[in-house]
């Protein structure tokens, strides 16, 4: 069930340049079904910013009823959000969308994240490890100062880091890591900027995988048709998927990027 709750801020920390980790507590957490779902956050009470902001659930703890969001303070809304203090409340609508499916027998998963696409992969990785999967990670960042969670991923499995300027890990993109390291895997999971996802779909064509998309949203629940994408098998037609309610996770190759 989707709920709308004023959740309590348990902690709120800057973990990299303009990157914040926000831990929220509330009953909404009980409704989380799968890693990769997201929430829609209202910043402030007023009309400016007016719209909610979609943020992935990075991870959650059902027992403590907490969930962690990791976001980049960039525009008006997220910059304001970064000013919220511990024990204040944040208006959250969620959980929204369908997350990553982690069913099936134990296999090896390759998780590929770029920038603020990295957070939901953390919850996914934990879940996979819990279910006995082997996980490998490739994390791409602009540079070291905006990188985060490398160690946390490292604790769960093999972790490659690539930065555009080479300030951390190898220099280049996540696709370069794949070309070079040729990691073995059964399923890949990816979240990041659309150009990265496009490149990945080309590079990993034929492989079984899932990608998580971003799109500008209005309602976040499937009612307004703001976040619609064409399907790859009907690129000009009227069939479509909604990122907010049919996604944000789709099988690789399903959606026209």
């Amino acid at each position: 069930m989707i709920v709308n709750e004023n959740m309590v801020v348990l902690s709120h920390e800057r973990i990299a340049e303009n990157i914040y980790e926000l831990v929220l507590q509330g009953n909404l957490v009980d409704e989380i079904k799968a890693p990769g779902q997201f929430v829609h956050v209202k910043v402030g009470k007023g009309i400016d910013p007016l719209l909610r902001r979609p943020i992935s659930i990075a991870s959650h703890d059902p027992e403590q009823h907490t969930m962690t969001l990791i976001y980049r303070a960039e525009g008006k809304g997220t910059r304001l959000l970064s000013l919220v203090d511990r024990s204040e409340r944040v208006d959250v609508l969620g959980p929204l969308g369908n997350g990553f499916s982690v069913e099936g027998q134990r296999k090896t998963a390759l998780l590929i994240g770029g920038g603020i696409g990295v957070p939901p992969l953390y919850g996914l990785s934990r879940k996979l490890v819990e279910n006995g999967w082997e996980v490998k990670h490739i994390l791409g960042f602009q540079n070291e100062s905006v990188s985060f969670y490398e160690n946390k991923f490292g604790e769960l499995g093999l972790t490659y880091v690539a930065t555009v300027d080479g300030s951390l890990g190898s220099a280049g993109f996540v696709t370069d890591v794949i070309s070079e390291e040729k990691p073995d895997f059964d399923v890949f999971y990816s979240c990041g900027p659309t150009p990265m996802l496009k490149a990945l779909e080309r590079q990993l064509e034929g492989k079984h995988g899932f990608i998580s998309l971003e799109e500008r949203m209005g309602c976040g629940i499937g009612a307004c048709f703001a976040c619609v994408c064409h399907k790859q098998d009907d690129p000009e037609g009227s069939s479509y998927v909604k990122v907010c309610s049919d996604g944000p996770v789709f099988p690789a190759g399903a959606v026209l990027l």
């Binding site: 400016d48 007016l50 499937g222 009612a223 307004c224 048709f225 703001a226 009227s238």
Partner: protein, 313 residues
């Protein structure tokens, strides 16, 4: 709530609060939050003859106190709406207002003819004012004579009362209202979105793929109030008002201006419970204002019920 019951052409409303077209889909999503039977009515997403994908994304952008959208009338088409959406909606005890759109007169007429025959569609809303569609739209919404003719043609085939949705992007809203009144409209809905635009700070290019979009939300409320104030004094049609409504107080302001019912659009995205909340907040607010029935407030800004109120006390 007796104080909220309203009778309008085609519409027996439990209360004057309904979601605005395009901001509530066909109801399915919001039915997760509350019982849609609590609503006064539902204005469903625009329906066109053929299914439409609409405009490329990004389709929405935020502005100060408002938002822009350029959805481009995406919808499953007349057949899809008739076969899937309206039957699903019939489980609720709520009148449906079908928003009718098209590119040319024939499309409009065909959609109106068919959709007005659906059992739970009790009124049509003629969308002559969608700013996000390249063909046709603009002339229908801005030239009185063209609007009148379209209204006549649609009215001819409609089996239910016809509301015409006016565009605010005109020099003279009263002329438009009078034209559609002359064309046989049973009511007006106003306003649709103001044509606006946002540019990206980094690229300098429009944020919306469609470049321009329709401005909605609290920012436009003063424009809507002014137009309803002007129009309600000049035509005899009931008006369903919309534009930036977020609270019961906003509803009251629309009634004062001259509305007989209201619709809530953008606010649904911010608070999915907003319509329900407003419905619940109205009765105590009316009591505070010392009003027995909300319709007494219609047109109070220009003294519509002034004499009758004096007589009744």
């Amino acid at each position: 709530m007796k104080s909220l019951q309203i009778e309008l052409p085609g519409l027996s409303l439990k209360n004057p609060v309904m979601p605005a077209s395009g901001c509530f889909g066909f109801g399915r999503e919001y039915s997760q939050f509350y019982d849609l039977s609590e609503l006064g009515a539902i204005m469903i997403k625009a329906t066109t003859e053929e299914a439409r994908f609409g405009n490329p994304t990004p389709r929405v952008a935020e502005t100060n106190g408002g938002m822009l959208n350029a959805i481009g009338l995406q919808n499953p088409g007349l057949k899809g709406v008739m076969e899937n959406e309206l039957p699903w909606l019939s489980q609720f005890d709520v009148p449906i207002i079908a928003n009718v759109a098209g590119s040319q007169v024939e499309d409009y007429v065909e959609v109106a003819r068919v959709i007005s025959s659906a059992e739970n569609v009790t009124a049509l809303e003629l969308n002559i004012s969608c700013p996000n569609v390249k063909t046709g739209g603009i002339a229908f919404g801005t030239i009185p004579e063209v609007a009148k003719e379209l209204t006549e043609k649609v009215k001819e085939v409609s089996q239910v009362p016809l509301y015409v949705k006016l565009s605010p992007n005109v020099s003279n809203i009263v002329d438009m209202a009078k034209a559609v009144e002359a064309g046989g409209a049973d009511g007006l809905t106003m306003i649709n979105t103001l044509l606006g635009m946002r540019l990206d700070m980094k690229t300098g290019k429009p944020v919306l793929a469609n470049k321009t979009g329709g401005l909605s939300g609290p920012a436009i409320k003063p424009v809507a109030i002014r137009m309803i104030y002007e129009v309600s004094q000049q035509v005899d049609l009931p008006i369903i008002g919309m534009g930036g409504i977020q609270s019961a107080e906003d509803v009251i302001e629309y009634f004062y201006a001259g509305a007989s019912a209201i619709a809530v659009g953008t606010a649904n995205f911010v608070d999915p419970f907003v319509c329900q909340r407003i419905i619940n907040e109205l009765p105590p607010l009316l009591e505070e204002l010392g009003v027995e029935h909300i319709s007494e407030l219609t047109g109070r800004s220009w003294g519509k019920h002034e004499s009758s109120t004096v007589h009744s006390t």
